[in-house]
């Protein structure tokens, strides 16, 4: 710990730097990690170093070894199904030389100063933490070897760690990790520069292909079992709602139905008659832009969850809708039409090369298409839930959160405490998908807990609360125009994108997408076309807009990859061949030349826009899918490719459209390049899951509003995929497992190309082009 490098707190970066980033219209986060040892370096920081809190590789922070040999690895990233509790621990165990059966994981509380960045978002956990975690483990291994050398009075060079022990090579003497732990702990931490990482040939867990591979269960006795597998299948794993104390109170909250409305009056007489209801209290909300603040409303506090739910039903509330202004007139159908209209006129130019007017003018053929993607709710299976206790001047929270730091700050704010006086315990997340990046629900619990000092209070969101009051995925209109020459070759590309910005959550509505939003597949569009203009006309926000898995990549990929297929069709060309031609030759593009200075926070030299990798996934997916093969009537193959979170995905879907308009996905082939693959088994599962979620985005999921109120309230109205909608077969083809390839994201990049691939397949099967999502009943009749 003595070598802890100074890691200054960058307070409230989620908001302050976000705004700065918006103002600069470039980076989401431009925080620079200040480090006295590197103070002379003034270069821009990228990757983990650029995140608030940066990285930490101190072995004493992450690895503890008991005298009995038990190795505890601290996982400081949130587990929401991506498998980070297994994968990151695997990295540490492998580099350390620990025996998996003697490794356990401990979940870190929120403490950015100690652990570095914990914001589990942006598909960053492994790509930012693989190296620091390996260094921490290598340092711990080196300390164990030194402790053994000291014990035996021999040079350290003669001592080597094996599996859970250190051996003196010349004499064959051995000491277990547990026997050495006490003495190793007292040693100083070796210099980072002196550490030697294991060569790949000595790794036992990292990058090993095990488990389920495209439907086949591999014989894999060496596979480390998933950390939480036993607990999950036997019901003992602890999610947010599973933290229950004896003296706990249970609350549900009635929130304003329209964003910006507030409480006019409440009559709680009937609610208080419900057996088990203890009290009805109000929660203060923030006016828009609400940021992570709660919406406010009325909390019914009870002795059990059901009483709270029943009590809320019995409330009589009058809301002040006037306070919501325009939001109370928000109608998504009218909004879509208004955006489609606005898409007819030029908007703010984001990127331009060549002369688009001239190109379209001289084109042999012109195409014009407008695409729409609706609002969606993340709808994790575990609705938001949190327990907060305010006692003796301290706050403690137990919550399933993606952003522990923002949660800690938010709870501290609500309790009127310093951040240091608040502990946030991160439970397992029953799904996140961006919803749980916002700690508003924990802040609600804090607001109620403050009124019940000494007692833990749980705020439970119902599914209705979740679907009606989430931070919605931005709806989006994308209009594209293209000009083709007489040979069908693209000579002009005009794309206008219109969406409310997440920036509207934190500041006066910017009405334009921010740099990080455009950088999600819009200005990074790689096609090799002589004349290109990209524009972003205005669009305003009327609900809370927030991150949804892969975010703005979804509409951008849907529009661009659908339109590319339409162009191929117009040119009379095979879609794959045409897509490869649009991509052009393999080359590395500096994102800055596309006016993208964000690049997912990564170094543009290490992470250029790599067209060669795009071509490779397109070629692999189509090859594996048997592109071009004969299909029975009613079936079609569809292709799409997208690059996001510095990874590359191509998808081929084989669908059947039935007479009643029902869609069966027979097979999906997904080619995926995320650079080095640390835990291929979990990469596959993420891609399989993205495929299913993407089918839901294409076919079913839509949130609509009328007069500012969400029309759907539960899964009978807001549809997400069920097993019957899942592909009969999903095959994930991992490409480019080069240990030196820069590591990309995994959790999100599988998702964006799924919906356009599916819609392209529907076109191939039926000749019907889907431009508005979801498909819903568009194919019926």
């Amino acid at each position: 710990m003595s070598q802890d490098r100074e890691m200054p707190m960058i307070a409230n970066v989620s908001r302050r730097h976000f705004l700065k980033g918006l103002a600069a219209s470039s980076a989401l986060v431009v925080a620079v990690r200040w480090d006295p040892l590197l103070a002379e370096e003034e270069e821009t920081q990228y990757g983990a170093a650029a995140m608030p809190g940066g990285w930490v590789d101190n072995p004493n922070v992450f690895i503890h070894i008991d005298a009995d040999g038990t190795v505890t690895v601290v996982n400081h990233r949130s587990e929401m199904g991506q498998g980070i509790r297994t994968s990151l621990v695997m990295v540490a165990a492998d580099e350390l030389g620990a025996d998996w059966d003697r490794v356990r994981v401990e979940q870190a509380p929120a403490n950015q100063e100690k652990y570095g960045n914990q914001n589990t978002d942006g598909s960053r956990s492994m790509r930012h933490w693989f190296s620091p975690m390996r260094r921490a483990a290598a340092a711990a291994r080196s300390m164990l070897e030194q402790a053994a050398a000291n014990e035996w009075g021999v040079p350290k060079e003669e001592c080597r760690a094996g599996v859970h022990l250190v051996r003196h090579e010349p004499s064959g003497r051995e000491l277990g990790f547990g026997e050495l732990a006490g003495r190793a702990r007292e040693l100083s931490i070796p210099d980072r520069e002196s550490l030697t990482l294991k060569p790949d040939s000595e790794l036992r867990y990292i990058s090993r292909e095990t488990g389920m591979v495209n439907g086949e269960l591999r014989d894999d006795s060496a596979r480390p079992p998933a950390i939480d597998g036993d607990g999950i299948v036997s019901g003992s794993a602890v999610f947010g709602g599973d933290v229950i104390f004896d003296d706990q109170l249970f609350a549900v909250v009635a929130r304003p139905p329209v964003y910006g409305a507030n409480l006019k009056s409440v009559d709680d007489a009937e609610a208080l008659k419900v057996p088990g209801v203890v009290k009805v209290v109000t929660i203060e909300g923030a006016d828009p832009p609400a940021g992570f603040e709660p919406l406010g409303g009325v909390a019914v506090v009870a002795e059990n969850t059901w009483a709270a739910i029943e009590g809320r039903r019995a409330l009589s509330i009058e809301w002040n809708l006037e306070a919501a202004g325009d939001n109370a007139r928000y109608d998504t159908e009218a909004y879509r039409k208004a955006l489609e209209e606005a898409a007819q006129s030029p908007g703010k130019t984001i990127r331009e090369s060549g002369n688009i007017e001239e190109a379209l003018e001289k084109a042999d053929r012109r195409l014009d298409a407008t695409y729409y993607m609706p609002h969606m709710a993340q709808a994790p299976m575990e609705p938001p839930v949190a327990v907060v206790r305010f006692k003796d001047g301290k706050g403690e929270a137990w919550a399933p959160v993606q952003h522990p730091r923002a949660t800690r700050e938010g709870v501290a704010g609500k309790l009127g405490l310093d951040v240091e006086d608040v502990t946030v315990n991160v439970t397992l997340l029953g799904g996140g998908f961006g919803r749980k990046s916002k700690p508003d629900f924990v802040m609600e619990a804090a607001s109620v807990a403050r009124q019940f000092e000494g007692r833990p209070v749980r705020v439970q969101w119902t599914r209705e609360d979740d679907i009606q009051h989430t931070y919605f995925h931005a709806n989006s209109v994308d209009r594209l125009e293209a000009g083709l020459d007489a040979d069908g070759k693209a000579i002009g590309w005009l794309h206008r994108t219109l969406s409310p910005s997440i920036g509207s959550l934190f500041a006066e509505d910017p009405e334009h997408k921010g740099g990080f939003e455009l950088g999600m597949g819009f200005n990074t569009m790689p096609f090799d076309i002589p004349a290109i203009r990209l524009e972003n006309p205005k669009a305003s926000a009327h609900v809370r807009i927030g991150w949804f898995r892969s975010v703005y990549n979804l509409p951008h990929a849907f529009a661009i990859q659908s339109f590319a297929a339409e162009m191929a069709e117009a040119a009379g060309r095979d879609h794959r061949d045409y897509l490869l031609e649009l991509l052009g030759p393999a080359r590395r593009i500096d994102p800055a030349t596309f006016n993208d200075e964000w690049n997912y926070g990564e170094d543009p030299e290490r992470y250029p826009i790599n067209v060669g990798r795009m071509r490779a996934v397109v070629e692999r997916a189509t090859q594996e899918a048997g592109w071009g093969r004969e299909l029975p009537p009613g079936r079609g193959l569809g292709l799409a490719m997208h690059h996001s979170f510095v990874s590359y995905t191509a998808v081929v879907m084989e669908v059947e459209v039935q007479d009643d308009g029902g869609v069966i996905v027979h097979r999906a082939d997904m080619a995926f390049d995320c650079g080095r693959q640390v835990n291929p088994e979990r990469i596959r599962s993420q891609l399989e899951g993205a495929c299913v979620m993407g089918i839901g985005i294409a076919l079913h999921s839509e949130v609509t509003l009328s007069e500012g109120v969400v029309a759907q309230d539960n899964f009978h109205q807001y549809h997400i995929p069920r097993m019957e909608h899942a592909p009969r077969e999903v095959r994930v083809h991992l490409v480019n497992n080069d240990p030196n390839a820069p590591m990309g994201g995994v959790g999100e990049p599988g998702l964006p190309p799924v919906a356009p691939a599916l819609c392209n397949a529907i076109y191939a099967a039926t000749g019907q082009r889907i431009r508005q999502l979801p498909v819903a009943d568009q194919l019926a009749g």
Binding site: G229, W306, P383, E681, E688, A726
Partner: protein
């Protein structure tokens, strides 16, 4: 007023109001938290338990209507170990976030008890009442298939 409820082989005196859904009795009163709250209207299956051996949605089952023994995910394993379905879930590494999986497992067990060797379509139909937002359906299907085919039994 209290009532008696047999859960996982143990009799309990229940004090919750009779209208209270079984789910909240299990979770808030008995501390059996493996059954999850997902929708409250019987649409997602996260709360699935067995009542008299049949898969039921505990979130819409008032406790006063439960007269037969209840089995929850906590009661599935025996002294001999995990249920074959639980084993298959681990072998296939089915769970991602895991929140829906106790309900998925309870539905799968009920299906296989009703029909030890269901065809693929039957699996899909039966399991379509259980939502999984992570999209683990292909592996759920494969795990059930494996148990049905005797691979993991």
């Amino acid at each position: 007023m209290s009532r008696s409820l047999r859960v996982n082989g143990t009799d309990h005196e229940i004090h919750s109001d009779g209208e209270t859904p079984l789910l909240w009795v299990l979770r808030d009163e008995l501390g059996l938290k493996g059954s999850k709250f997902g929708c409250g209207i019987g649409q997602c299956g996260a709360c699935t338990v067995h009542i008299d051996g049949r898969a039921m949605r505990s979130c819409i089952t008032p406790v006063q209507e439960v007269s037969a023994p209840v089995t929850t995910i906590e009661g599935l394993a025996t002294e001999a170990g995990l249920h074959p379905v639980q084993e298959a879930w681990i072998d296939h590494n089915v769970p991602q976030c895991g929140y829906c999986q106790s309900g998925q497992v309870m539905s799968a067990v009920a299906l296989l008890e009703e029909e030890p060797n269901p065809d693929d379509e039957r699996i899909r139909r039966f399991m379509s009442g259980n939502l999984c937002r992570c999209g683990t359906y292909p592996r759920i299907h494969a795990a059930i298939r494996a148990v049905a085919d005797g691979g993991d039994a």
